[in-house]
């Protein structure tokens, strides 16, 4: 079943892709085949492959239960927040929280995850900022 749904999604993506490609505004100085042909070729391959998934699906993968799925979504959300907060809070503070969260969800005790968050943040800061001179996000406190 998963493969059939995947095929349907793939087909939809291929169709949207074709539609988007057809709306590309051609410029007057185009080459012979223009900017649309290659996307059309790609969409054809994608669409045919998707049809194949729908007709001949593989055996069902083992999907995680609702709890684990929620876990993965939450981790992704935390990472997206992390990306947003980097310039606001600075590298060290945001990293402490993000690392601590991931470490906690991967099975550390709350205190240990905070410890590993602090160590990871300062460790990466020391190696990449102080030793290698890489530019990390600076917050209001300067680190």
């Amino acid at each position: 079943m998963s493969d059939r749904i995947f095929g349907a999604i793939g087909l939809a993506i291929a169709l949207i892709y074709v539609w988007q490609a057809s709306t590309i505004e051609e410029s007057f100085m185009s080459d012979v085949i223009g900017p649309k042909l290659f996307p059309y070729l790609i969409a054809t391959v994608m669409g045919l492959a998707s049809l194949f998934f729908m007709l001949r699906p593989d055996e069902e993968p083992v999907w995680p239960g609702f709890g684990k799925l929620f876990e993965i979504i939450m981790a992704a959300v935390v990472m997206l927040f992390y990306a947003q907060l980097l310039p606001v809070l600075g590298f060290v503070i945001s990293t402490i929280f993000a690392t601590a969260y991931l470490s906690w969800r991967l099975g550390s005790t709350p205190i240990m995850s905070l410890v590993s968050g602090v160590l990871t943040a300062f460790g990466i800061y020391t190696v990449f900022r102080l030793i290698l001179g890489l530019s990390l996000a600076r917050g209001p406190l300067g680190f």
């Binding site: 085949i33 001949r56 993965i72 990472m79 997206l80 990306a83």
Partner: protein
Amino acid sequence: MDVFASLSDGFLIALSWENLMFALLGCFLGTIMGALPGLGPSNGVAILIPLAFTLGLAPTPALILLTSVYYGAMYGGRVSSILLNIPGDEPALMTCLDGYPMAQAGRAGEALAISGIASFVGAFIATWGLVFLAPQLVKVALLFGPAEYFALFTLAFATLGGLSSKNQAKSAFAAALGLAFATVGMDDQTGVARFTFGEVHLFDGIDFLVVIVGMFALSEVFIFLEHHKASDLKHVEPIKIGRITPSWAMIKYCTPTMLRATGLGFIAGVLPGAGASLGSFIAYSMEKRLVDKKGTFGKGDPRGVAAPEAGNNAAAGGALVPMLALGVPGSGTTAVLLAVLLAMNITPGPLLFTQNPDVVWGLIAALFIGNVMLLILNIPMVGLFTRVLLIPPRVLMPIVAMISFVGIYGVSGSTFDLMVMVIFGVLGWALRKLDVPLVPVVLGTLLGYAMEVNLRRALTISDGDYGVLVGSPLAIGLWTVAILGFVFPIVFGPMLRARMHAGRATDPKDLTDE
């Protein structure tokens, strides 16, 4: 011979103190990464590409650092195969067969040492093969026009799944998806925006580094989140290493095996669609048939460790031949090395050999040096590397995630790229669950631009006549191989795969009567 002259120039470049330091650092980091659970050669190198880029290293030192990491990770991968029976990547699958039984019999140290030596022999001889074969292939490649290149790219995608590919439709879908990512952004030849949905950040296109790091490194974090309960249990058992130096007698005993495995592995690496996993598989089954008179293979025969390790490292070296000479990677792992080159703004291919010989030969010399370093590093320090296995994923995986963020942020300084990376991480996780290979996606993103340029150039030259795509014997030959390479796994794949996995699925005792 001018090959030797070029090679000695390469050594002059690679033997500077700075470059030697990078090689040493790369070997060390790489071995640790390879040994760490959940970090293979591809992920390890993927995380480090943006870092090497932001540190502003010159192309040659950066390449030396990253190829050393790659080679080191190949060395390190066997540590977890032998000690824990967990292959780090697919080529290491065959090493588990005899490596783990040896470890259980208290001969882990010997198994590690002999696999280290076998890796060295395989990689060392394969690098010589690269030295002689690549310039020959360059001569052929100089005959290629745009139409031939387009056919060659198609060939690379068609054969990427390899002979053991599970589902060719999924490989094709993955490649198309990657190519679609590559079309996002400004079209170079006409200046029109494509698939940007009005988002300013997308006008430059999607940075392939974002795709690679998201797909390879972050998706691994999600996989661990999904499975973390199971992975915490494996680290409790104590590991006995035993003696870490193999006796001369054992090295002698394994030498013919290593040499045969190297030859087979190298050929498998050079040919499109075979790659390292097939290299180690062929080497192992060939040796088993040839020398396994007493039925000791699968029960801890050192030759059963030496054969796949030599085969897989020789295949890795062989795969560099088409990658450097044609600019088209023959296997998944070399795709990541292609990303390294492209990130350094170097386009591999025949012109690389004539225009930047210092890069090519410096790199090849670095491979030789890295090999020797790894051999020296590995035998005495294997104890240290085994301790790395004890780091629990709950500490390690967040660090992997954070270093990925640091690298990508360093390249672009934009939170938009970080968000795109997270999305690619989730996408990578979902695709892995659906058994869609990630390497074609990454390779599509890397090669999409060049593939389209060649298609359009060919058709511009022919003034829109599509016949030009099959207009030369060379092009027809490439198309034929591409089609055969795509169809062959559909016919013979199930059989081959069943054999490759039979060894691991069944009890080692049942393995002798094949």
